[in-house]
Symmetry: C2
Subunit: 792 residues, 2 copies
């Protein structure tokens, strides 16, 4: 394209008039939502009582978002695209709501907010109004898959939506504030993992409006050549649209969008016909327009348009200050609403000329209501992967190794549908899931060397050293109707604490909207866990993610701690079939004893917690003590303790309880999986001492059970932040979760036992001393520990 | 510099020999640490029993780190620099330990690991050995301020160390794996906030060794021109050093380091003499050398050197496999240890030729033991900022507004010392701390427009829309001996959950090392909190950070919830004077009632929790019920409930307890601030109902108090994940924390009151209904709520 071409108008006068009408209408509606609760069409002069008593919302970003909505409409309609838009500056809710209302999507879902004057009035009043709609692009907004609250994840969500959707164009508006965040900065490289053959395209629109809440932005202020260099360094081909003259910007943006879509189409055609093999450098648009464009230029003598002062509500005192009121009225009338809306309040033909039809509308695309597109996974029978267990603890397997086999099959069985992805930060093999590579390589578009293994331009295993990208990609993938699993080192999943917060909030709210179809759950496999960080030590030890997610809306969250390989298969199957949940599975990767056959594992998972009769010594009179456990390492130590008790105190009636689903501990009224009090007491008794070996921070068990009868009898051992690079058994000794300490706990807590069992207690203390001595000398665990087997 | 210059050797033959000797010695020591527990100098042929039984550690990154250590030594010594190095790939602990041992720093701190054969043997054996040292660059490593565990924060730490240290050069090795993370990607822009006048310099060394655990890295595989474009886009001037011929790489790296230091010196001189005003584009080095360089080329027929297989332990079966053992011996002898170490095991003259003296050594710099450099803050008397409170609740102030005045004074009083910074993600003004701008502007090196306010190339308020950068900068600043405060929206501080995990782990371990001097605490001001997110709603509501930090080593963490303005001043003063803690302060920014005079606030904070006699109605017989509260909004609701009880049930003996320091609720054995059981029962009674209004998730209170007598009588109200864009009072109603519900709770729980107070209970229920009706109609809170004042 020559320079002359670049300046030639691409829009006819009619098109320009129509696009500008749509944009002005959207701007009018955005301002109306922030300010008005009546007199929506300005049929009478504006009076204070037309204005909301509390003015809340974000104007600054809205005109830019409106402009993008307008122009996406045009290009979608003209080219019959399937498109979705992720609105990074989603706090500009008024803009996206305006676009959805104008195109009719909004009224189809919310008929009381009809596309007429009455509906417009409701649209205005409900915005940021108690009982109304939130100020952000939230689940309530048609067409959205991205909450505009916490910034940084828009581009990762956009890529997640595009993976395995070859016909989809995902536009993504990235705010220049958001662009300063780490997750967003990392997301620019996502194109290096995007397959032009099987994936759709992402078109980033970097919106440089220059200011955040109170500051200029880095990307808007750095020199142009540096910005250009940065974006090319990210692997993009930037197209620039800059200005504050609407007519000119309309022409330039239309031209840039045409060019971008042409380039995308060319790239995809070349890749899909096999013409091209080099990595694609995808186009993007840099849109530089004023913050709060078309809003008040000055308020109270201070500049507002094109400054940070336009961020929220530019005229804050409209009800009290007549000058502000007059200025608001001038502002609203500057859009000439009478040209835009009919007598009945319906948008006029000019306004609607650019709007596409049906599900091509951004507010009606099924991609943004992914549950509508969801197909169940073809999960093979677990019998194909399970290990035989005739006698508890006689064999050992790597739980995640078995899961790897299941994932390999699943990858193979979804090869045509392409609706499952495995994501992880460079840890798939470290987490012992490498069997999956038999069916799918790792997504990779850059250069491949002979020494490389399992890289594949069409792979559906995603590995990048960024938990943020893994999480963001997967969220976008799930919300657009597919399935996935995130495998992560347990400690470092805290990196995405805040992202999972927001996803759980999304699922909670979406679940309350009848029009949103259920989506596949977000499944975490946390492994390389706190007890087995042999190479890495203290920095890699943190079991607190379970605590974190259990603070959130409990009905969304499920937490599984499978004690062995077959049980991991059973919970993974449950998780992969579930909908609208966040499932956290914590499992070991090192070979550990097999306790349960597949059938036993299934039954155990169905109950969530149960007595392991074979491990206890109680007769019909009930137990003297309950040994409870959750997690693979605590289960092994509890069973070892049960074995020691069996040997040294055979007259003691011991019950062993294993908890695989942590939420069963919650009262039945607080979680669907929660046990009734009767069930709880049936397992743990109401009055006997319970020694509980737990995988994570011990107080979590107290927090889950504080309402239960007998909770004063709970004595919990778990991780108490004592760690370093050491042996597996030394880790449990350091945290008082070892078998010897657990036996001492039993002796100390069963009434009357202290005197009778003094010799056994001393024997246990001696064993701990023996451990300390041995390990300092040999650097390994004692043979009696390494070779231990369940004695039953 | 011409091309010819670029190829000309900068090192003499002697220098080259000496540098290579140092590098080979460091490599030898790194391999020795991973493998050997005896025969350190290979005086006899290597036998299996010389090798550790468990082989743990990371070889792959070590030769590159060693190379950087060697060459930094040279440039530091030659130019008499004050320097510090942040080792991003800190899992290469063997390398940094090797460098510190060679230069003597290590033995000075740990005399038993002497710089001779016995010490070398200990150095080898202790590495990743139970009871020894961790495998990473951890607090135990002299010269370190950065744990090499969780990746992504090295560059932010480096900038934090450089701020306000004008004479310091901070080198920072960035691994190409780490470079894929979000926080690291954002950190490259930190130079745009670095003041060449008052700050030191950061010299990033991007080490492209090509592979992560199991994958190629993005930055190593993207085309060179794209990488160059990216780094220039980040505002850097990249110098490239590439190769696998040691002699050539030595020359090139020496040349690049000379050029980089020259450029830095020129930039600083120009800025400091006022010659230059344009933003500086700082040099950086791109070092491309093989992963596992000089290690085994092939093992068992598979390539290892220069592949991901070199990541951890290249020869895994040395004790069992004679071929591996022989290969290890050849590898170790390839460094020619007999040339490097004397008969006594001490490094020879060639090895030590490049090593600087005293505190110029990287392992001995006082900058990395920042407590040695720490000076107490000049904190003004709180009387200068406090508000008079003659009668509780008669006046109202913004707590953070008052704190802003304190911070403004502190900024002014540290203008010369420059040892205090305020960081925040674009929220300083939003959080009502804007008074601070009277004394310091916001750090900013890019272009300034006439419309901008408070930007200052020399400012010490740091605002960037990245919580990761705020946290990383501040951690680096604190660990090198200065003070700071991080002001953040409460919900979004979860973005740095994993970073604060690591910082708490660092402080815990550092606190156990007698040679590490105490550093200033990491202080959080969390505001714009869950109850006051009027503009933003659900996505901005999360009070769970308190739960998160309280899972960590409790003696490091303090959590304060000041109920009013004067109390915030008192806790801020405590926090800013404290050492080696993480202090979390949650406070309101909106004007709220003043409850305590400064003296009362100080006394209250000193106790951490106390009875507010003026608010209760008990006589000498003790209370019928305790109303407890923590947090500004719950305190107001509890007091309003107390007022309602006073009016409608005046005969009820009510006690009001306010908790300002959450850790007082913990048992005294678990936290230094914890109450004894007697103190706890003195406040809360052992047997009376306690209605507790808490700022965050209610179960936290149960988790802190489950060991207390009477904890079954606790009934806690708090945030239960019910939120949207609505009014302040509607938020508390939605979460059952409102005054009316609290009175109903009292009536439901005080024995015998239900019948007697049925009419009052109905009145409360009616008030809630009235609220729902009013708010739906008016969109505001009822006048009786807005105008409420403490009736006492």
């Amino acid at each position: 394209m020559t320079t002359a071409d670049r300046d030639a108008p691409v829009l006819t006068a009619d098109e320009l008039r129509e696009l500008d009408a749509h944009w002005r209408a959207a701007n009018y509606l955005a301002v109306g939502q922030i300010y008005l609760m009546s007199n929506a069409l300005l049929r009478e002069p504006l009076r204070p009582e037309h204005v909301k008593p509390r003015l809340l919302g974000h104007w600054g970003t809205s005109p830019g978002l409106n402009l993008v909505y307008t122009h996406l409409n045009r290009v979608i309609k003209q080219r019959e695209l399937e498109a979705l838009c992720v609105w990074g500056p989603g706090h500009g809710g008024p803009a996206v709501l305006a676009g959805a209302w104008l195109e009719g999507s909004y009224s189809e879902i919310y008929p009381d907010v009809s596309r007429d004057e009455a509906g417009m009035t409701r649209l205005f009043k409900q915005f940021s109004f108690p009982g109304g709609v939130p100020s952000h692009v939230a689940p309530e907004v048609p067409g959205s898959i991205h909450e505009g609250g916490e910034l940084g994840y828009s581009l990762a969500h956009a890529y997640g939506a595009a993976f395995d959707h070859p016909n989809l164009l995902v536009a993504c508006v990235v705010g220049d504030g958001e662009a300063e965040t780490g997750p967003l900065a990392a997301s620019w490289h996502s194109g290096r993992f995007l397959d032009p053959v099987h994936d759709g395209a992402v078109l980033p629109v970097l919106h440089l409006n220059g200011y955040k809440i109170a500051n200029p932005t880095v990307l808007a202020r750095m020199p142009h050549d540096e910005l250009d260099s940065l974006l090319r360094g990210y692997g993009h081909y930037p197209l620039y649209v800059e200005g504050d003259d609407p007519a000119r910007v309309h022409q330039d943006l239309a031209r840039a969008l045409d060019e971008a879509v042409d380039l995308i189409t060319d790239h995809q055609r070349a890749a899909r016909t096999g013409e091209a093999t080099a990595p694609v450098r995808w186009p993007m648009i840099v849109l530089r327009t004023p913050k709060g464009w078309t809003g008040p230029g000055e308020v109270d003598g201070l500049p507002v348009e094109n400054t940070w002062r336009a961020h929220q509500v530019p005229l804050p005192e409209v009800r009290e200050n007549p000058e502000h009121l007059a200025q608001l009225e001038r502002w609203l009338r500057s859009y000439r609403p009478q040209e835009l809306f009919g007598e009945d309040g319906r948008p006029g033909d000019d306004v609607l000329a650019c709007v596409p039809d049906g599900t091509r509308r951004l507010g009606s695309t099924t991609y943004a209501n992914g549950g509508l597109r969801l197909r169940a996974l073809p999960l093979a029978p677990l019998e194909d992967f399970a290990v035989p267990v005739d006698k508890p603890g006689a064999t050992a397997h790597s739980p995640t190794g078995l899961l790897g086999d299941l994932l390999a099959r699943l990858m193979a069985d979804t090869a045509r549908e392409r609706n499952f992805r495995l994501v992880g930060p460079d840890e798939t093999a470290s987490n012992k899931l490498q069997a999956v590579y038999e069916s799918s390589g790792k997504a990779w578009q850059e250069r491949v060397l002979p020494v490389d293994e399992n890289l594949d331009a069409h792979g559906r295993v995603m590995e990048v050293l960024s938990e943020h990208l893994c999480q963001g990609w997967l969220e976008g993938y799930l919300l657009t109707g597919r399935h996935g699993l995130f495998s992560c080192y347990e400690a470092f999943v805290h990196i995405v604490d805040s992202m999972v917060n927001q996803h759980i909030k999304w699922l909670k709210t979406a679940g309350e909207l009848p029009w949103r179809a259920p989506v596949a759950s977000l499944n975490y496999l946390l492994t390389s866990h706190v007890w087995r960080q042999d190479h890495n030590g203290f920095s890699h030890q943190d079991p607190g993610f379970v605590d974190h997610v259990l603070n959130k809306s409990p009905h969304i969250v499920q937490v599984f701690l499978p004690p062995d390989a077959n049980t991991l298969l059973a919970v993974a199957d449950t998780a992969l079939r579930s909908r609208d949940h966040v499932n956290v599975i914590v499992a070991g990767k090192n070979p550990g004893p097999d306790w349960l056959s597949l059938d036993q594992a299934r039954a155990h998972c169905a109950r969530g917690a149960g007595v392991w009769d074979w491990a206890g010594t109680e007769s019909g009179d009930g137990p003297d003590v309950v040994l409870a456990c959750a997690g693979d390492v605590p289960t092994q130590e509890i069973l070892a303790a049960a074995g020691l008790l069996r040997r040294y105190l055979p007259e003691l009636a011991v019950r062993v309880v294993n908890v695989v689903d942590m939420t069963t501990l919650l009262p039945s009224g607080e979680h669907a999986n929660g046990m009734s009090d009767a069930e709880y007491e049936g397992l743990f008794t109401a009055d006997k001492p319970v020694i509980f070996g737990y995988h994570g921070y011990p107080w979590l068990i107290h927090r889950l059970t504080y309402k239960r009868t007998g909770h004063d009898n709970l004595h919990v051992r778990g991780y108490k932040e004592s760690g370093t690079t050491t042996t597996p058994f030394d880790m449990v000794v350091r945290n008082d979760l070892d078998r010897f300490r657990l036996v001492m706990d039993v002796i100390d807590r069963v009434p009357g036992l202290a005197v009778r069992a003094a010799a056994t207690r001393q024997r246990m203390a001696d064993a701990r001393t023996r451990h300390h001595r041995w390990i300092r000398e040999h650097g390994t665990d004692m043979p009696e520990i390494v070779e231990w087997q369940w004695p039953g």
